[in-house]
Structures are given as structure tokens and as C-alpha cells.
């Protein structure tokens, strides 16, 4: 599978990464190479093999339903570029 310039432009847009038009060809080549490299895996027949999700035989650990966190609005907002009245503020996003 290869990516063309339009696909790279769309992916960049979805990821909110600004890419200049003159960079698209180069990136399309690089990303396609990565895909080709990974595609080698599909040469292996994996019929009936379940995806491996962990190298250790572990299941998802669970937590009790208890309030043990929160109440730290100042810390939560500490790195915000902008905050007001306890809220994060961002450029207006509304339909």
C-alpha cells in the first residue's frame, strides 16, 4: 500500500499538523516506505491465531469505584496557555 499526496494531506489535517505542499511528496515516500516495511508481516499466515496483546499473561487490572482523585483545579490548569474563572479557554469553537 502506498500513500499519495492527497492522503498525506488529509492525515496531516486530521492530526492538526501543518505540512507545506512542497513537503508532501517527500512525506508520502517516507510513510509509504514504513507501510511497505510493516506489510512484510502479512506474508505470515496467521489464520486462527489470536492477536497478541501482551507478552506477559496478564489481564486488565481493575480499580474499586472510589473517589480518590480530583479537587486540584489549580494543578490541572497550571500548564494551560489560557484559563479564566476555573475554565480552560480556547478560541471560540461553535457551529
Amino acid at each position: 500500500m502506498s500513500l499519495d499526496k492527497d492522503a498525506v494531506r488529509a492525515i496531516a489535517n486530521l492530526a492538526r499538523i501543518e505540512v507545506r505542499d512542497e513537503e508532501l511528496d517527500h512525506l508520502a515516500g517516507e510513510l509509504s516506505n514504513i507501510l511497505h516495511f510493516v506489510e512484510q508481516l502479512s506474508e505470515v499466515n496467521t489464520d486462527g491465531v489470536l492477536p497478541m496483546s501482551s507478552v506477559a499473561a496478564m489481564t486488565l487490572p481493575m480499580r474499586k469505584d472510589a473517589v480518590t482523585d480530583g479537587g486540584i483545579p489549580d494543578l490541572v490548569l497550571a500548564n494551560a496557555p489560557e484559563a479564566e474563572d476555573g475554565f480552560f479557554t480556547v478560541p471560540k469553537v461553535v457551529e
Binding site: S53, M62, P91
Partner: protein, 485 residues
């Protein structure tokens, strides 16, 4: 009855599937220990996990898993012992992670069903496609500043169950019934409070139309986040009409996300969501597959309460109620319990009539809720006992009930205080009848000449002279004998 929309080129039917986001009842969030309570000060219920600080890892809340399984069982659905969390990637200001942890191809709950109770007493089964667990996003507030949106992450990370129906619904009315029934089941199970106003239950509607008789599914549009059952119905009605107009004027429908404007009662395209369907799902590398034991599921199943469908069937069998009455009474667990308290050891149909009639009317009139009723179930039961033992006639009972609503006093107390006891003493009733007869010889003659409808007037006069306290059945019987011989 089929819901058909008449177009210019022929008849059309609507195909509707609903996605309901139901907020899970839990103390803490799905993957963090922050509180879930509604209405707290902004960003006070946010952990570093919910704010997506680098290096924070999600740890799943076992109660949220339990609630999802419980809901699945309530929908008679297949429970998947292994399910997988995936990242659904999209960019929005109130989604700090840049993705929502959700479930994609392996949800915790698979196919199930929900039974609609139609107004004519019949039922219709609607398929459930799946139920999965996912995180809620934060909340954006757009009206606090001219050029900025304010973001509160308190809701970020709260557990949601997304419950997806099959495209089995065929009318706005059925969509409303589906939501009502789903909310009822969730409340019985205690897995979601179903409060659409506070946003703990939200609905997206997928709508398409097709000519009657066609079996193919046409392009659908998704109407997002409609926050009341009535609005869902209005949105579907508008959207279906729009599709038909487009098709009939030779156009095509584009799959898109639309917004319902409840003020204008119309839907419109959400341009910001144009590329939103490209979510690039992949398994969340922070979370192992969720594996639960069959014994865990069995334990939850053993603890399930009697659900609305079973309760309705029991009310019909045990109390002899009709499907409609039983359906209304079981819609809320608390009204079902209220009815059962009133009906216990009494005539169930009389109890049902009082609860569905005077009692529900009193709830409406006083603006009170059944959690804090104007008349308790025990008092209403006692009132019915007073009718049964002859202390009160049906007519007096209605007066006593009105006084109970007004004063909150027990019926026996009111009967004593106001002297409302029914008169069943033959002598007293006879005296009253004789007085009316003596005062109206001309009317007595008319009755004897065949104008028997006048007897009703006599009954009214006797009841009036006894302040409504005479036993109406005795008055009727004795009057006939005396006047007609």
C-alpha cells in the same frame, strides 16, 4: 400501524436507528478516581488522567464494567467475556487526549432486544446491535465570552454506555417509545438515571427514507445530541421530509452529521464534522483486553431486579390488569411499587383505577412527584377499605380523597372530623325519601304515569338532602319501591 409519508411520487417509509449515550451510575470515572457528580465547580473533578497529562495511565473502574454487563443482561443481550478498548481519534477542544477511549470491533455487549409497548396494548421487538463502554468528553461553553470558548473537563472521562439499536424503528412515535422503554430499563437496573435534561442520557438518530415496499437501505444522516424525546421525534420528522424532498426533486442525500435546532424545528449540516467519520480506530496500547469470567456475569444476573416486561406480564396475570394499564404502572419502578402497596390484599382493579385516575390526576394538579406523593399508598389503600366496608360510597370517597390531597390527613380521620360517614341506616334514608316524595306529589304522579327517567331526579334530591351521605344503592332501591310500589 405503518407510518407512511406521502410524497409527490409515492409513499415513503422512514428507517431509524438510534444511538443512545447513557451515563453510567458510578462514583468515580471510567479510567480515573475523579468524581462524577453533576454540577460541581469547573475542573474540580478532574485527575491528570482526565486532563490527558503526559505519562498518565488509565485504570478501569470495575463498577463501570459491572454496570455495562448488567445493562446488557437487561437488554437480553450477548455478553462478550473478552472485549477490547480502542482509540477513536478526533480533534476537539473538549477532548484533551485527542482521542476517546471507546470500543470498536469487540464491544462488551453484543446483540440484544428491546420490546416496545405500543399504545394499543400490543408490543413490537426492536433489535439492539451492541452496547459498548467509552469515555465522555468535557464540556464546551460558548456563551461566556465574545471570542473564546470555555472548557470544563469535569465530565471528561465519565463512563458512558453507547447503546446502538438496529435500524428497526419506522416512525417518530416508535423512536419515542424506544427511548422511553430504554430509560425505564436503565432506571430499573440502576445503571443510568436517564435524565436527558442534565445530559446523562443523550440520543443520536440515524435517519433514512425509502419507497414503501423497498428493502434496500438508503444513505442515512446522523442527527447529533438531541436532548429530549420530543425533540428526537421532531428531528426525525423534519429529516425524513427533507430526504423525500431531495429525492423527489432529483437530488441525492450525502451522508453527514446534522444538528437539530429546536427553536426553528429543523436540522442543519454540521460543517465541522465533515471529516469526522475518519476516526482511525486502533486498539488502545495503554489497556489490555478486558476479560471477565462467566461467574461474574452469572452473579450480576442473579441480582437483577424484576424488569418492566416481566413486571408488566405479572401485573396482567396476577392482578388482571389490561396491557395498557400495566404498561403505564410499570414504566417507573416507584409507581409500580406504589400500585402494589395499594393493591395488596384489596381488589386490584379498583386499586388500579384509583392510582391511574384520581391519584395521577392529583400528582398533576399539585405538581408533586410520586417520590413525595400528596397521598401515601397506605392512605389510598385505607380509603379503598372504607369503600369496601360501606363507610363511604364511591362518591363520598372522591370527596374524602380531595380532602386527603388538601390536608394530608388519613381518610379515617377525615371521615370522623367532617362527619362524612355514609348513611346506611334504612330509617334515616326512608325519612329523607318520604320528605322528598311529600314535597313533590306532581312529580311522583309523572313517574307513576310512566316518566321513569324522573327517578334520577328523585335520587339527586335525596342525596342532596343528606349532603351526599346516603348510600346511593339503597336510595335507588328504596325510591323505586316507594314511588312505583
Amino acid at each position: 400501524m405503518a407510518y407512511i409519508i406521502q410524497g409527490e411520487t409515492g409513499d415513503w417509509e422512514i428507517v431509524i436507528g438510534l444511538e443512545v449515550h447513557a451515563q453510567v451510575i458510578s462514583k468515580a470515572k471510567l479510567f480515573s478516581g475523579a468524581a462524577t457528580e453533576f454540577g460541581a465547580e469547573p475542573n474540580t473533578q478532574v485527575s491528570f488522567v482526565d486532563a490527558a497529562m503526559p505519562g498518565m495511565l488509565p485504570v478501569i473502574n470495575e463498577i463501570c464494567v459491572e454496570q455495562a454487563v448488567r445493562t446488557g443482561l437487561g437488554l437480553r443481550a450477548k455478553i462478550n467475556l473478552t472485549s477490547v478498548f480502542a482509540r477513536k481519534n478526533y480533534f476537539y477542544a473538549d477532548l484533551p487526549q485527542g482521542y476517546q477511549i471507546s470500543q470498536f470491533d469487540q464491544p462488551i455487549v453484543g446483540e440484544g432486544e428491546l420490546i416496545l409497548d405500543l399504545p394499543d396494548g400490543s408490543t413490537r421487538t426492536v433489535g439492539i446491535e451492541r452496547l459498548h463502554l467509552e469515555q465522555d468528553a468535557g464540556k464546551s461553553i460558548h456563551d461566556m465570552h465574545p471570542s473564546k470558548s470555555f472548557i470544563d473537563l469535569n465530565r471528561s472521562g465519565v463512563a458512558l454506555m453507547e447503546i446502538v439499536s438496529k435500524p428497526d424503528l419506522r416512525s417518530p412515535e416508535e423512536a419515542g417509545l424506544y427511548l422511553t422503554k430504554l430509560r425505564s430499563i436503565l432506571r430499573y437496573l440502576g445503571t443510568c438515571d436517564g435524565n436527558m435534561q442534565e445530559g446523562s442520557m443523550r440520543c443520536d438518530a440515524n435517519v433514512s427514507v425509502r419507497p414503501v415496499g423497498a428493502t434496500e437501505l438508503r444513505t442515512r444522516c446522523e442527527i447529533k445530541n438531541v436532548n429530549s424525546i420530543r425533540f428526537v421525534q421532531q428531528a426525525i420528522e423534519y429529516e425524513a421530509r427533507r430526504h423525500i424532498d431531495v429525492y423527489e426533486s432529483g437530488g441525492t442525500i450525502r451522508q453527514e452529521t446534522r444538528l437539530f435546532d429546536s427553536g426553528k424545528c429543523e436540522t442543519r449540516s454540521m460543517r465541522s464534522k465533515e471529516h469526522a467519520h475518519d476516526y482511525r480506530y486502533f486498539p488502545d496500547p495503554d489497556l489490555l483486553p478486558l476479560v471477565i469470567e462467566q461467574s461474574f456475569v452469572d452473579g450480576i444476573e442473579a441480582g437483577l431486579p424484576e424488569l418492566p416486561d416481566d413486571k408488566k406480564a405479572r401485573f396482567m396475570a396476577e392482578y388482571g390488569l389490561n396491557a395498557y394499564d400495566a404498561g403505564v404502572l410499570v414504566a417507573e419502578r416507584i409507581s409500580a411499587d406504589f400500585f402494589e402497596t395499594v393493591a395488596k390484599g384489596r381488589d386490584a382493579k379498583i386499586a388500579c383505577n384509583w392510582v391511574m385516575g384520581d391519584f395521577f390526576a392529583a400528582l398533576n394538579a399539585t405538581g408533586k412527584t410520586i417520590e413525595n406523593p400528596p397521598v401515601s399508598a397506605a392512605d389510598l389503600g385505607a380509603l379503598i377499605d372504607l369503600i369496601k366496608d360501606g363507610t363511604l360510597s364511591g362518591r363520598l370517597a372522591k370527596d374524602v380523597f380531595a380532602l386527603m390531597v388538601e390536608t394530608g390527613k388519613a381518610p379515617a380521620v377525615l371521615v370522623e372530623e367532617k362527619g362524612l360517614r355514609q348513611v346506611t341506616d334504612t330509617g334515616a334514608i326512608e325519612a329523607a325519601i318520604d320528605a322528598v316524595i311529600a314535597a313533590n306529589p306532581d312529580k311522583v304522579q309523572q313517574v307513576r304515569d310512566g316518566k321513569t327517567t324522573l327517578l334520577g331526579w328523585f335520587v339527586g334530591q335525596v342525596m342532596k338532602s343528606t349532603q351526599g351521605k346516603a348510600n346511593p344503592a339503597m336510595v335507588n332501591e328504596m325510591l323505586s319501591k316507594k314511588v312505583l310500589g
